[in-house]
Symmetry: D2
Subunit: 510 residues, 4 copies
């Protein structure tokens, strides 16, 4: 699903997944997770700040009312210190279980994996330590891994994103999970540590989202780390950190980059955003889309998805682009390509999907009309120059959850959504089906790494083999009652490919 903060790269991806320069070095590894008591993010954070952004309020069921004691304190202070989990309230497991069951219905590939692979238990013997968002969807993944034979211990990759009820549901069936919504920085590392270290536990596989678990093990438990057989990493950030380790010659474990698989990329960006842009705008503003003038900044996959959805409901779309190829695609798709300044006075909605910074500036917002809606579907929270709006001449008024009116001295109001953070993570739900693609890819990557013959994978970062990418897709086809055609021998020979795939060369663009 959502990318965490994008790392540095000489090559930008351009569709909201661009990379930012990060200095990574061991001595600089100070991971500052110090939200204040009120949950505000520390502005001094140097990396992974988006990991605190990226929770979906829409998917958060429980009230975040503050207890006196944290789950960790309660566990320590009581007779419960021997419990092999730490969650907010084990009593919420019933509700959590129901959410897991609902999620299962939209994650058909994992359920199919459970069925198909149950016989031979391809993960028998695997001891997996995981660090991801703790949601109903990841619960389906974790329980699938266990069904495939693995043992698991799990922590959250984000201090805010844990669905407490789901964590409770996992704990209730005996899975060692250490996570709750609103962890402190210290809690965060404590939870991870509980997952890495336990009596009689030597993890041999890592499933990570953002790289925090990997680096904690690398730095704090290097002996344990060296015995790991493989790492599966999902996020742009985590992948970047792995490549840096590898480049520095310090990656002693094979790692699989599942972020760049085709199915994940297309679903995360084009298809997922096609749905979430409407949902996010509607839930926050109740706006009617018909006839609205919208400018979409960036026509990568995210921008393409946004435009497709909005056009379907009768919006009039303009696009801004820096890349002439994407600009030409926008033209051919019926969008006018403009500079933001040309249309800034007329537009009703501004959606930023560039992956770039300061795409929407104070100077431009000075010229928008009253009531314009501004939101970010791109990356991180840098696209809209929100800082420039926190100025003495402007008044902020919180009108609904995730909706601020920024009020100009003349009374003009600009509706800023999610304070410029990612709209789809903050204000819409992400369909389980989209998450299913990613989770399945993770499961297959674990199976592949765990079962690969000696020597297939060295101490490097690998892309998911194309054939497995195709396999992930094929596992999702039955949900659509879709029936694949099979090549006959003659046809496969004519095409010069194996009749079971892979069907396309690596450079194929889809």
């Amino acid at each position: 699903m959502a990318e965490k903060e994008a790392p540095a790269s000489a090559q930008a991806q351009g569709d909201g997944k661009l990379r930012k320069q990060i200095q990574f070095a061991d001595q600089q590894f100070e991971f500052q997770r110090r939200p204040t008591k009120k949950g505000h993010r520390s502005l001094s954070r140097s990396i992974s700040q988006s990991s605190t952004d990226s929770y979906s309020s829409a998917a958060s069921y429980s009230d975040s009312s503050e207890d006196e004691m944290t789950p960790r304190e309660k566990r320590c202070g009581e007779a419960r210190v021997h419990e092999d989990f730490c969650v907010k309230n084990i009593g919420q497991s019933g509700f959590g279980r129901r959410e897991v069951e609902i999620a299962q219905q939209e994650m058909p590939a994992l359920m199919a994996l459970r069925k198909r692979a149950q016989g031979d238990k391809p993960l028998a013997g695997a001891t997996i330590v995981g660090c991801t968002h703790i949601t109903a969807q990841s619960a389906v993944l974790i329980e699938t891994l266990i069904a495939l034979g693995a043992q698991c211990r799990w922590a959250a990759c984000n201090i805010f994103s844990t669905q407490n009820e789901v964590a409770a549901a996992l704990a209730a069936v005996g899975i060692p999970v250490f996570a709750w919504k609103g962890e402190s920085e210290d809690d965060f590392w404590w939870c991870i540590d509980r997952c890495v270290c336990a009596d009689g536990w030597q993890p041999n596989m890592i499933l990570d989202d953002g790289g925090d678990l990997t680096h904690w093990m690398y730095r704090k438990h290097s002996e344990v780390f060296k015995k790991v057989k493989g790492i599966v990493e999902e996020s742009v950030t985590g992948v970047h950190r792995l490549y840096q380790l590898s480049k520095a010659g310090k990656l002693c474990v094979p790692a699989m980059n599942v972020n760049d698989s085709v199915t994940k990329q297309k679903f995360d960006n084009l298809y997922s955003c096609r749905e979430s842009i409407l949902d996010g705008l509607k839930r926050t503003t109740d706006i009617m889309f018909g006839g609205k003038q919208v400018v979409v900044c960036g026509y990568g996959e995210v921008g393409k998805g946004c435009c497709a959805a909005l056009k379907g409901l009768g919006a009039v779309i303009c696009v801004t682009e820096v890349d002439p190829i994407c600009a030409l695609q926008a033209c051919m798709d019926g969008c006018r390509v403009v500079k933001l300044n040309e249309v800034i006075r007329q537009v009703d909605i501004i959606i930023s999907c560039t992956g770039n910074k300061n795409v929407v500036t104070r100077e431009q917002l000075d010229r928008v009309k009253n009531g314009v809606i501004i939101c970010n579907m791109g990356h991180s929270n840098t696209e809209i120059d929100v800082a420039s709006l926190r100025a003495p001449d402007l008044t902020w008024e919180r009108v609904r959850s995730q909706v601020d009116h920024v009020i100009w001295p003349d009374g003009k109001r600009v509706l800023l959504l999610a304070e410029g953070r990612l709209l789809n993570l903050s204000c819409s739900s992400v369909p389980s089906f989209v998450l299913s693609i990613t989770a399945t890819t993770q499961a297959l990557a674990l199976i592949e790494l765990y079962n690969a013959p000696e020597g297939r994978y060295k101490q490097d970062v690998y892309l998911l083999p194309k054939k497995m990418d195709e396999y992930v897709a094929s596992l999702h086809l039955p949900s659509f009652d879709a029936h694949l055609t099979e090549l006959n021998e003659e046809q496969a020979k004519y095409l010069g490919i194996n009749k079971n795939g892979p069907f396309k060369p690596n450079y194929y663009r889809y």
Copy 2:
């Protein structure tokens, strides 16, 4: 524009550009261009057979009525032997000139190149021998090359595709062109030879489409060939032949593969087919699309384009696919994914876009309903098993140009378009704008190769640099009144890219 016959490959491209096993070896080089008097293709042809298919009847203005003498005979037999051209009828040049002028309006990038580069004449000194389809659009290219400083001699790459009026128009302004519609095999090579060899002429650049010119020079005029500075090749076939030469260590000249540039690929397939499928079906059958049940075999770029267009007019679409990733895309785009046999009895139209062979078989056609329309948008003429329809129990009736009724014993009629050859080449026009993309790419590749500093290009096959790909796109934006946004320094730095591009990594999928 249109690909010529696709060569062999271990990796199929799957979107109608698949490759077929070809044995290429010098001793086997028997290029059999022997159309009968009636224009039927010799079935014994081993290569480039599609070069005789790939002319657009829609773009052919003149009647193909047979003269007594060929243009070559006339030229030889008369006092005109010293004319440095050989065309059908120089008197048609007025009409041809008008067509060239019409084409210019839709080829803005070439016209812009003429303007921008006219000052410094980047092709001054270049002596280009070319072998392409001779159409209004290639005339615009040729005259652009000349405007950029080059000298040119030109032949046709296909014995049927020459627009005689356009050839006349070129000859009329003094360009040595040797081409007419309906050349014999022998004429074909004679024309090429006239372009290669002339008094005081040493070609230093080759622009080829299909590789025939290149190989003629390689085999027959190796001394001339060795002095060539660069080859620009457009077609799948020609590119394949270059890679084979290179692999065999026999390519003594740097070559540029313009076939695989992004802009060309996207325009040739997705956007061009989106328009031509409707045009091709309408011109041949006058069918109403609304509510028609259509099965599109293959959901690569070509299939995606066909589906998009047909959905826009209210057709109900099913898709067949062998590749689960493309199948999943079809699902997400609202197409049911089926096996052909599941829907064969209900569909009104079958469109094959796979690049595969025998996708639509006699057995299946036995089960279609009366009046079904069958056509090929994919590759070559192998997709529909037309041979199986030339059976004693079936009657063929030519009802219109390019439309045959194949009649079953029970009276059922199947409408076969273009005898199973490519519908878009046979029955629709290709917009000049699409051809403009390719032609501009060719021109830029020539400029790059001709001006590259010593050592930049070795005796190998190169892809167009990504930045030039972006430049081709940018030259086409003004037609759409599209305005690119420019990165500022800070943003470029944030993205880690040069503010003038390239903007995306090579693996970016667009």
Copy 3:
């Protein structure tokens, strides 16, 4: 906006606004509004039952926690008996005012009316008694009427739909409003009575939604009623009741049917549903639409809107229809037309938009697959035979607000939304812009009736003059920055119309 219960008619409207046989006679006039304490509807209700259905949970901000005393009790029992309003909590007026201000931004025509008509106060002297849903949007209407010169007293037309904060905001600025969420039957009539009768108050205009106010005045305050100058009625139900009164020769006041104006019809049905179907499904189920198989029952305006929206996001649509003309339209729009039974086993979502009853039956639901979603966008709560699901063999589980899992003995779950009531009213918001159309029409109808010269309107029911319909539309165009073209004299003469409209004959279909 939403229609209340549809009345009887020999002619059905077919787009979800069908009419049901109602016996209306004075002696039968027993309006039974007796929700139990728990808010369940009395099944014995004979009319206007939908008035208790049709509140939007999405638009309800305040918690419905039960106080000890009702607002009416509080007002009576305290020193506040002389307050000329009765609302839940006047302290909430600040929040309500902000919602009103937000709504104003999307109701440009009313704001324009305020500006344009403020000079001459066309409603000066008008004393309007109103009975509508009490929402931010109706507050904008009420305050517009006052700005135009009218005095107003207002009650709610529905015991559940009042937004308490908005009622408070109106009261806070001195408007006599009597309404709160969760009125009892008795409260309901008491509130209406407070609006009709007050010291020194003789209402001369009625604005009604559903006809309850009109009939209360007709029966209980006939002397007051006779002095009324005009009635404006919005709902299908209310209009029907007026026609019945008229037919019975008992309508002593001119009435305007604003329900059947073009703009209202098109916006309420096609455009509004196009947006709300996605919103309603997303908020309740978080489902991904891409590739989902959906059957839409009924292809009237509502069905057309639903299909358009869902197709835009990649759903595969089937339609059921009884009317061959609408069925043919569905075909031409690319939807397969089927009987529900043909697809019942495959579909993922069933949306009923027929206005008919028992369109989706228990027998059919016995055959759907696990996880299917069922909802009603049509009319009333009769479309889905929900009663048949309240059977001993089925288990109901409330999984979220407005979402029930109905569980079959074999474990199969059907997701029933809003218990079969209208999805768009229960689970999505209605954009203010859509409501603006209706509200503007109401305001104009009041102005017309109030200012019409003696004799223009008799004691009958009238449609809004076409020219005013066009005027409503024209007032909404500036929001879209749309610029109308004006006919010149010559053109108007050629067309045989007035250059200022009306532009179309009454039978024009749009």
Copy 4:
């Protein structure tokens, strides 16, 4: 299909079917059909001038090479004077028969009528004189009428539109047809007269398109006319003339206006134009639609159809409108609504669909950019002020059939299609399926009028009963494999309608 010239009306229809003031009076009845030998239209024509416009070049198979003698002369001058037909060349009947057979496949309703009604021959005894375009589609109609029991005699309603081969095919099977392409004015009336008067022939039904036959009989053969049982008229013009006769008290025969039936209206305008706009533009200009800026003047059904089609292929659409309701629809459908002058300098294509005159003026065309395409999809040939382009300062150059370059002094070229006449009639084909709707309506109207009990129809003009309108639609559903749902008794009762229809009130807008 195509309307002939629109008559006067106080109420314009606004979608390209507007009416023009016509003085109709017996003494003024001078029908001037005097095309010159070269086929140019006489400019002095006062009425029905569009009847000479409205032939489809696309549907014209035969060469219009001029013979020495006209068919009429040949027939008269030879021993063939006793032949009861007069066509160009009876030898072409084979080709014509094949075209008729092709048309049959797309006219399923007529073929169904033949089957269903063959048993009881509902037209047994009917003697029908017809005057329509003579095309493959009308041949299917005529032969259906005969299959239903009627005797027929037929003439052409247009001097240019006859497909000679089809006329030959009809004559060859013994149907008295008098029509050829390129009739003179005198021939035209002679042909009609041959159909009205023949030995032993008293026509009792009239099928007319434009009213010429009706008025010829009314004026020249009033005794024959009085014995006619009914008239079925298709065109706007003919219907208008009937209403005028009726108003003048001179219509002594019941007449059926089939022009205003729902199915015909929707198919003729929305759906038919949706397909023909693309076809017409492509065949004439080969233009690429993607990214083109198009202004569509008029957003009635025709404009809606054009916009839908063009948007589907990636064009950027603006709309001009005079009617605020249609303008609001355009907004909601995602089109910007502008004045033509605002966009005149940028647009690539101008399409006029207003039914109005001088919508595109010389002054505006002075400001368009080079290469702009101008065409008319609306009505008659008045929309574009073509006369103003026939000015001394402008040069016309015919570049292709139906395509003129109008060249400004500075070299700017404007591409004018079909000289401003209707693009869909001149440059595209009309699908048989669309014509099938109209033809079926005509056949049913004949059956109804012929079989109606005494007194059902008086000497007036009637609309097709709604139930028959629905029947026409239902006869076309099987082509789409569409399955209607049937109401059960309970549902029909609930809706207050007959379970077999009609299903909607007359004012329903669809």
